[in-house]
Subunit: 332 residues, 2 copies
């Protein structure tokens, strides 16, 4: 089995650090691992297989010998470097939203649409965190009975915003518990002990970009433009793990029991649905499990084909870094 030169761009960020960890955990066949970041973070060190690797400043020549580059440094960095990088023999897996909706760029969740990877021209996009967990949970239903519509409300943790947001939640929580006025840097409003119905920028139609990502990316990954999707995305004072309240209407009827049996057999999904013992997916459980957790499964009381569910996953791992590494695994 051959080994590859791999670069992680944005290695010092919340997702970048997870990428390095996951490459090690999963024994990805790496010859050289090159860690890249902005000038500000260059010089920091990160452990990989017990070796301390120095993070280098990203520049035009960073990718000369790189086979696979995992980008997680924001859309601006992706837009600047990826078109250059992908012209060489480097294959880029991009965690930003820069190329996700580009028709020449496959948007991949390995459990859902790994076949689409063949279409790549050097760039493969990693979907948004809130999309990944939802499509993993809904794919078995799509395959079994079809899905006509999805109405989702999210409860997204601050780690989705990054390290500064994790610090902001910590600091504000501590300030409020000590009767001090909370200070703000990252979010437009206090996030500690509060809910913000606002993730990413607002678009002209009144939806946020985060909500539109859920809508557009889901359709692209499912290869189905007919599914009706409505989304409301909210930021909650949770460190890790995104939760989603999802209502769907299927094309054909499926019983909850049958659905549970399907989930029990589906790789990548952990069914956590034992309400008699107060067991259901929890954001804090996502620090333990890499699977997308599904629970609170119940039939709607008015629509025979309506199903309610609660979906939770680790937004830094399955929602970002793990999915990116799984895409890389499809390549090798």
């Amino acid at each position: 089995m051959s080994e590859f030169n791999v670069a992680v761009v944005g290695a010092t960020g919340a997702v970048g650090r997870e990428m390095v960890k996951i490459l090690e955990e999963r024994g990805f066949p790496i010859k050289d691992l090159v860690l890249l970041a902005s000038k500000r973070s260059a010089g920091e060190t990160i452990f990989y297989k017990k070796k301390e690797l120095t993070v280098h400043e990203l520049n035009d020549k960073s990718f000369e010998d790189i086979d696979i580059a995992l980008f997680s440094a924001g859309s601006a960095v992706s837009r600047k470097y990826i078109p250059i990088v992908a012209k060489n023999n480097t294959i880029v897996i991009d965690n930003s939203s820069a190329f996700r909706m580009n028709s020449h760029v496959p948007l991949i969740v390995p459990e859902v649409n790994s076949h689409d990877i063949k279409k790549h021209n050097g760039i493969i996009a990693n979907p948004n965190c809130s999309t990944i967990q939802m499509v993993v949970a809904l794919k078995p239903i799509l395959d079994e009975v079809g899905i006509n519509r999805i109405i989702v409300s999210t409860y997204q943790s601050v780690s989705g915003t990054g390290k500064d947001a994790i610090n902001e939640l910590t600091e504000q929580s501590s300030q409020i518990l000590n009767n001090k006025k909370p200070t703000r840097k990252v979010y437009p409003h206090q996030i500690a002990f509060n809910i913000l119905p606002h993730i990413d920028v607002f678009e002209d139609n009144g939806f946020t970009k985060e909500e539109m990502k859920l809508i557009h990316e889901t359709k692209k990954i499912f290869g189905n433009n007919k599914i009706k999707i409505t989304a409301t995305a909210a930021r909650v004072p949770v460190f890790y793990g995104h939760s989603e309240s999802v209502y769907i209407e299927t094309q054909k009827y499926i019983s909850i029991n049958k659905l549970k049996n399907i989930y029990l057999k589906t790789k990548g999904i952990k069914l956590v649905d034992d309400i008699d013992n107060s067991k259901y997916p929890l954001a804090i459980m996502s620090e333990t499990y890499d699977e997308v957790m599904v629970g609170r499964l119940r039939k709607d009381l008015t629509e025979p084909n309506g199903i309610n569910m609660w979906i939770v996953a680790n937004n830094l791992r399955k929602g970002a870094a793990l999915n990116a590494v799984q895409i890389a695994e499809l390549l090798v």
Copy 2:
């Protein structure tokens, strides 16, 4: 104008204390205010109009001269005392769920169905907190264009559970920030920095009682059994203020602009919907405003009659104590 002898049952609880405050704030015409609670809390004192009133132990004779009794001491206490109390000339306004779905007991939100109060036989029920804010926000739409269906996901604060839950969120948050293992008493799982898709007990259909309250109470208050309602209720690490992500389908089309104009004129509603300036309803704003706050109004992109919205209110005040006092005001 005559004055009334008023009793508050459960006066030392989170809602009971708000009731006393609101009776004072709104200048309710009170001759004598009698504060009642369990043996455990008897002897505590609460300020009313700068006088320190002693809380007495609730017993069968507590209501002999009482004109209006506000109950907020849980369903068991309501079930035990209210049938006795209501046989006298005392009118009971009950904040528990004990009598809400009783067909002889009106379930009142003054802005929505004050006319139903005439049907009372000594007992008037105060709806659940998550129901009150939703029906206040939806009533103007119901009146203008009709509503066919409602799909709601809630983000409910811990004060809805009571004082012990407020303490639990405080303690667990502090423990976690100090790298200690969080201790639990009130909730089945850690609530700090976590989301629990579980409020009240589970019913046989897989929904929680809280979710079923939203469904049944909304239909009763609207006097409309045909509205299709689906609900998912989640507890979030917020002290005060319930948030709700609500999707509705109206019978007839209404534009967002028209809806905003209606809300601007509707008493009891505060429109907070200026996304260009990051203004939308926030849980922490409910500590300042008594109105039900509505924002993030936007048309669904697939259903011409679909509307998404974000609804926030103070669960202890409009969601409980204030609504109860407003019912009392209808009586006098």
